[in-house]
Point group: D2
Chain length 353, copies 4
């Protein structure tokens, strides 16, 4: 943390502020300029979280220097985390595509989809039994019955199940069936829920909020990890923008950006980002091209019969076409690039004096 | 709802789509243009929620004509709702300012603040016992102990208590103490929680989400009301923008805009909007000027000691200064204006042929 | 400026970077922490603009401490600037409302509007002769003929004329007629145009860009002022947001925020912000309540005949109603508040030790 | 266009409104529902631009059905436009990468960069002689001298020159040197400038504005094309968001989205989008993967010596590494996909009754 003192902050103010910070157990270094004094605070950032730094005497600005998350940070865990879900690996070079319907509607559709996506190369099955819907009058999911269908299809196909958890009171039920717990955009900062699942043993996919920052997303990951769980998959489903071309705006540049900050696997959700079947596949391709560790994609054989989000569902044939293209794609490797990036700081071209 | 068919949609597509909609129990009207056909759907909008209109054959766009909420809508309840909290009224011309600390920290501070804000004209006391914090390492609230302090201060001052509920599992505890239940930005779409509190009997303040639309906010209100509760106060706490001048961006024009759409009381939260003590009062004044039914304002005698959000807390003297200014202010009355607005459609000036 | 060096920046990197900055003529102070070194740069900020600070060896982040504008800054000109337009004053406690049609369409409408708004209390007349329209097929303004009408109406009413300049090649023509030159949102960063008008002698109203920051807006003001002109009026016309309730989102809290940063008059443009006649007046009232130095408001006797932006035009009667309400309004005085703000740093309540 | 009438609009209002539209020369069709009437307007959309539809009696909402641009639209020009710049083709399957320094600083650097990027596969040279800078105190470009250097380097390398035009008064000068005229984000709605260059004969690259919509971008293209020019290249340089991870937010999904709407070539600008050298290459790779017709990329041998935007410049070696990867990449072909998309409307899987 850096405190920039006000122009004209008095010696007394500077001393009072330094003293207070030292009382909290942190070292302070001072850089006094002609007009402005800057104070550096050293020590464990987690201890400073929530301290009223802005209100200390003479303080003008508080500038954050290092990340406020710890367990999620690559600084504390330099190697990529590889998560194993019933033998399916993701992260650290293992790529995995999760596919399935938005909502579980019927057993017949579910088994048809599961076989089709498995055949095309998907390694896990997604399907919502509890659905967060903007309107209370929209279909809210099949609940327990949907979970039973998922379990039955897992028995037949061997695909691990990814399903959404929306409520603390459904924890026991959902954990009985799911292999991976999905937390959606609307609950990204439902901290009560995040704390609970961090104490439990199953891998979690945590999507970003509708307009969360990268840092807030990582702080919510930290909530889960602070409970003890290490297996968190970060999912990017786009964020809200004024532009309505896509349902949400997914900047795939965030993938390498976050790979630098965290050791956890990062997947993209092109279905919720594009929002229209027509653009889901191309966006999925771009996201895999830039080096995402996987994708979560909605597939349905009859989009106009789907009980939710039919608009953005790929047909099974679409999905097979996409998976074929992805299998031939050489993804960008930011780690390799970074090695070169490091080496090339002193270009052999030009003047770098 | 209006369906705009694709250029070149076939007669067969148009008939299939009309037929499907009629099977769902809705009337259809057609307007055929030279290139484009437009289909109007008549009937209860709630029944259409979640139907896969976009995926019907030949459909290009789905345009929403009327609001998807019902109980929250002024169309279904033309008169202003007045909410009574232990004798304190809000809505329909009754204005009410809620004030208190962000977090409850100590009994001594709480009673001091409560007396000061009551003396200045506040009619309810706010104070957080459970705090949603971006970092798991920040202060999370005093919990049960904080609720006890609030109850004790209510006994001494008579001020009704407004406090935040963050978790389904705290419902029993919080309802035992609170007079008004506050749901914060991060839980605006925690639908599981909204459904539960809609079944219970206490008034609710529902803040907008960090980047929610007006319509999403009203849909979340509808979630609460669909459980049976009528007493919902809508709070505007600003939304996220690229601009960092204020902590959030509060467009006070939303106040009259929402007053047109809903019969419920609308209050502003200048503390979270401005985010800095220096601009909280002026923003509160502007919000009351435009006709908000009230405000919820953070006050603390020692911002640099506050355990959360000290930056945005008014001092008790600041609050008294603000309340004095507000008491002398003539708020804008959009209803009066609208009467004129109606009458003046045919201006006596100019050419309106 | 503050440079935060990378974790593990070498002594050599730190020295190379310090040396380079000293070569540019700036003092450097160092604060070395256990892990991180922070470098403060002292000297004229204008000299540092455009220097490649991010690329110096070992630099992780560049943090801006003071404003990059100078002539627009209150730091360099503590007293409010009062601008005098043919005897009409604005700024430093003088409030002025500018009103008139979006586009000049006919002499008859213009004189009718001018007399009506003057009668209601407006002190200047606005009217566009050159119109920036999103579509090349929309009405582009009456041009020279429109300017002639404005001049004729000025002769009759005495109201100074405010009109938009869109093109460098129209400078001579527009300056021949206008009293105040308006630069619209789309040209806020048309730097070629800004430089030209900064060399000329007439007051300028500079609106913010569709999604500009406060700082970018002030930098564009600085472009004008760097040419020599002091008379710049800052106009806030709202910014783009995902929310479509209002045409643009105007956070009136920006008014006191900018009053702190700059000495120049700040006016609001509720017509372009609200975008609908129904909400223009309430928003104008809120903006004047928070202490804006004025407003620029579109008025037309027959909105459905207007050649542009009829939707947002007030009728003359609406405008008279609004001006009556504004005349009875006690605006917030941020300067008075700030005096109290200063004094109240040590509250008599609570523990501030 | 579709007009949705207010609930309770009178027969008289509906007739007055229909009559007015018919007087403008447009056909009207009516769909009367139980509560609401919807009016379809048929005829040339360009004629309706700027008509005050919102203000007609009884009108509640105006819904735009078809695009307001014409010459830029794929509807009017189904085949891809291929632009030829001195023999270098772009569009319709021809991909072209433009590279060079942000600003032209010295002949030695420029020739070094030009040879390096040509060697790596770039087909045109970019370089700014006139620079739009947020601060008037930043380096503003070498002007005429810079153009001379570009011409000299063209003579030596044969690479066509792309350079920015910022001002109407520089048109003659810039057209004397440039092969392709670049219009930057800040001038995307400098309509006076767009009109002028549309009358001239050289190809234009038009970048999107800092927060423009896709439709506004295409309307600005239409401004250029309405002057007669057909050779417009659309460049996506990202838009402003609250997220600061990247300098701007580039949703590459916009590439196939715009390819559907327009026949013109679409290129990406990963340098301004990512804003940091470290992420420029990965973003460029993703943009080429999704099917962009090209990219414009900043390259400099000594970023810390660059006079502008050194932060985002690739080293020549970086650029060569990137071009090698791009050359091996199979780009997504949305046109092929769309053919399948069409065929697959009736999936062989599932129930599509």
């Amino acid at each position: 943390m850096i405190l920039v003192m006000k122009n004209g902050a008095t010696t007394e103010e500077i001393e009072t502020t330094s003293k207070r910070i030292r009382e909290w157990g942190h070292e302070v270094t001072l850089a006094k300029g002609e007009f402005q004094t800057v104070m550096g605070i050293i020590g464990d950032k987690q201890d400073l979280a929530g301290k009223p730094l802005h209100t200390l005497p003479g303080v003008d600005k508080v500038l954050e220097v290092s990340a406020p998350y710890k367990k999620a940070s690559r600084a504390f865990h330099p190697d990529d985390t590889v998560i194993d879900v019933n033998g399916v690996k993701i992260g650290g070079g293992y790529r995995s595509v999760i596919a399935g319907p938005c909502s579980v509607d019927s057993y017949d559709n579910l088994i048809l989809i599961a076989k089709a996506v498995k055949n095309a190369g998907a390694t896990m099955l997604r399907g919502g039994a509890f659905k967060p819907r903007t309107s209370p009058y929209s279909f809210q999911g099949k609940g327990h019955e949907g979970l039973e269908m998922l379990a039955e299809v897992r028995r037949e196909t061997g695909l691990p199940i990814v399903t959404e958890l929306m409520s603390e009171k459904d924890i026991d039920l959902v954990y009985q069936y799911a292999d991976v717990i999905q937390i959606g955009a609307r609950n990204m900062q439902n901290f009560a829920l995040l704390k609970e699942i961090g104490k439990l043993g199953k891998p979690v996919i945590l999507k970003n909020g509708i307009a969360s920052t990268v840092q807030e997303h990582l702080m919510s990951v930290e909530y889960v990890m602070s409970g003890g769980l290490n297996d968190v998959i970060i999912a990017l489903r786009g964020t809200r923008s004024y532009e309505t071309a896509m349902r949400n705006s997914l900047d795939v540049g965030i993938v390498p950006y976050m790979q630098k900050l965290t050791h956890l696997p990062i997947i993209i959700d092109p279905s919720h980002s594009a929002g229209k079947r027509e653009f889901v596949s191309s966006l999925a391709y771009a996201g895999m091209a830039i080096g995402a560790d996987g994708a979560i994609i909605e597939v349905h054989p009859c989009p106009s019969c789907a009980l939710s989000d039919g608009d953005q569902a790929l047909l099974p044939e679409d999905f097979a076409y996409l998976m074929d293209k992805i299998s031939k794609l050489q993804p960008w490797n930011q780690r390799d690039w970074s090695k070169n990036f490091g080496k090339m700081q002193n270009s052999k071209f030009g003047d770098t004096k």
